[in-house]
Amino acid sequence: MAELSYREAVAYGIAQEMRRDPRLVMLGEDIAAAGGVFKTTVGLLEEFGPDRVRDTPISEQAIIGAAMGAAMTGIPVIAELMFSDFIAVTWDMIANEIAKTRYMTNGQVTLPLVIRTANGGGVRFGAQHSQSVENWCMMIPGLKVVAPATPTDVVGLMAASVRDPDPVIFFEHKALMATSEEIPDGEIVDTLGTARIRREGTDLTIAALAAMVPRALEAAEMLAADGISAEVIDVRSLVPLDTRTILQSVAKTGRFYTVEENPRVLGWGAELVSIVSHEAFWDLDGPCVRITTPHIPLPAASSLEDLAIPSVQKIYETVKRTIGGAP
């Protein structure tokens, strides 16, 4: 057991996989000599050398294109996009090429690659460096999408993502970088497509992701003090999506809430609600409620950012207000 921060867990998880598979390479801006702007790749250059850990120019299309070309010819790759907002600069490569090539070629091409990127807000970086864009990727058929909330999950889901033969977009959350926990000894390998029940409860189900998981858990404690028992599910993997765990939970609790950092419209919760409200319709005792950032670009000022992103208080109050059935 070692205490590891979320930030350190990234390099730890990558190192585990690079030791295991000598073909595995990495590329990205400032990831090698500098160890990454979030210090998530510290030590990898030293251990694996400059051929396997590569600094690149500011050329996101070339980076992701190179990852795709290498992966399709037998070299598994981890590519970093410094901020998830920059996915937009290489969106064609991700959404049109990487996601579709296996299907278009009827299975001729396999793409064992992982795109890691720093996602989310809470660090006052403003609208172009704080977005939660996991929904961008979730909606594209052919991409797997993972967003861990804890250091152990970072390591285990990194291993699962690297070992998966399909392209995985791996969202590391900026606001969680400094959080830490004890992680198990030995190899850690998790499974894509599995949600995790972080807290059991009977009155309502809250589905949360990444930085919203600790907030949902805290809100659940406050609700517990009021006699309301919330089950909190860390969705972890948006694609594949573990609907079973969620539907089972809703079958038990009869109420469903999502806590989403993304701006409201078409956040991942919309898909979950559309599933729950269809398949668990007869289980529901009241409307599904989505707690999200308002549908606005994220403001930079601390005071505004704090007002925008769902807070513990807001989660708590929203549940309190609506659990009886009020809209």
């Binding site: 120019p57 294109g65 010819t73 490569m93 090539t101 299907y103 070629t105 091409v109 399909d166």
Partner: protein, 356 residues
């Protein structure tokens, strides 16, 4: 504002024609094996006849969707593929039939793909713009401009890491030199010294717009080469021998670890951009001049002059005709894919499940 119909800003066909250069007859004595030359001749014919057949099938309403033929541009594909090793990689655009066939893709499977049949090389899923045959190093046809230059880098990088000596050859059009991915790809290829050869088939037009109207330099690829520390290389793209020599040189350079090249092959498409296009934005005299520089009769003459018996050439042509006929039968007889194919091969496990 009244339209002056004689204004070339309103009708590009009124612009001055851009004429081909004359044949360089000295290429007849270039050091190229006769085998190679005959193979190129065979490919020229295969690409021509196959593409004409594709066009016929389109006229019969058997090809749905779109197609982008390379009629007139065959020399580039024929010559490059002949200079490549079987395990080298090809990356092409939606105008990728010629490159696919040149690398050995089965003509029947290729045609069946255009017809949307289950026996198509992609089972009907990809269609005309995405022909791919990984077993033959044909790593794909890419339909959105730019991306595949970056992807070709990745294949070259992979070859470099694996130490296999493989080279990636990436074909694209003149119009593609103005998109951002071109710039990123060329820069990365150079700084990483990648074994990749970028080949711009400059056919003077993007879809319907003349390339010189939208490009800051006269030679869209060659005049950009120095921006990436590369030599400007221009070749007569309608002469298989000229292309072959340049291709061999660039590919061997890459194989020796001496890094990337950027080649501009000047050529012309005889038809429109895609099946929907009559190509009327081009001066008639320009079209005619380039048709007169058709690589096939020129190469036929050269081979005759080099002493190849007419019968050998006719034999090749006949053999190709049989191949294309057989391919047509194969394609036409293919069944349509069905529900059992729809949800297959999104993921490596063969399926399409995104949830449990």
């Amino acid at each position: 504002m009244p339209t002056d119909t004689a204004d070339p800003r309103y009708d590009y066909a009124l612009r001055p024609p851009r004429l081909p250069q004359p044949v360089d007859e000295s290429l007849a004595s270039a050091p190229i094996d006769l085998d190679v030359r005959l193979e190129m001749y065979r490919k020229l014919h295969l690409l021509r006849q196959w593409s004409k057949r594709a066009h016929d099938l389109f006229l019969q309403n058997l090809v749905k969707g779109t197609t982008h033929l390379s009629l007139g541009q065959e020399a580039v594909a024929a010559a490059f593929s002949s200079a490549m090793r079987p395990d080298d990689y090809t990356f092409a655009t939606y105008r990728g039939h010629a490159h696919s066939l040149s690398r050995g893709m089965d003509p029947g499977e290729a045609l069946a793909e255009l017809l949307g049949r289950k026996n198509g090389v992609l089972g009907g899923k990809g269609g005309s713009m995405h022909l791919t045959d990984v077993t033959r190093g044909m790593m794909g046809s890419y339909a959105i401009i730019g991306a595949h230059l970056c992807i070709a880098n990745g294949a070259a990088w992979s070859a470099q890491m694996r130490g296999t000596g493989q080279v990636a050859v990436c074909f694209f059009g003149d119009g593609t030199t103005n998109i951002g991915a071109f710039h990123e790809a060329l820069n990365m290829a150079k700084i990483w010294n990648l074994p990749v050869v970028f080949v711009c088939e400059n056919n003077l037009y993007m879809e319907y717009t003349p390339i010189d109207l939208v490009t800051a330099v006269p030679r869209p690829a060659a005049d950009r080469a120095p921006a990436y520390g590369l030599e400007p290389i221009v070749v007569d793209g309608n002469d298989p021998d000229a292309v072959y020599l340049v291709a061999r040189e660039a590919i061997e350079r890459a194989r020796r670890g001496e890094g990337p090249s950027l080649i501009e092959a000047q050529t012309y498409r005889h038809g429109g951009h895609s099946r929907a296009d009559p190509g009327k934005y081009r001066p008639q005299s320009e079209v005619e001049a380039w048709k007169a520089r058709d690589p096939i009769p020129m190469y036929h003459d050269r081979l005759l002059k080099l002493g190849t018996p007419e019968a050998t050439l006719t034999g090749i042509e006949r053999q190709v005709a049989e191949v294309v006929d057989a391919a047509t039968e194969f394609a036409k007889n293919g069944p349509e894919p069905g529900l059992e194919d729809l949800l297959v091969n999104v993921w490596a496990d063969g399926g399409a499940e995104w949830r449990n």
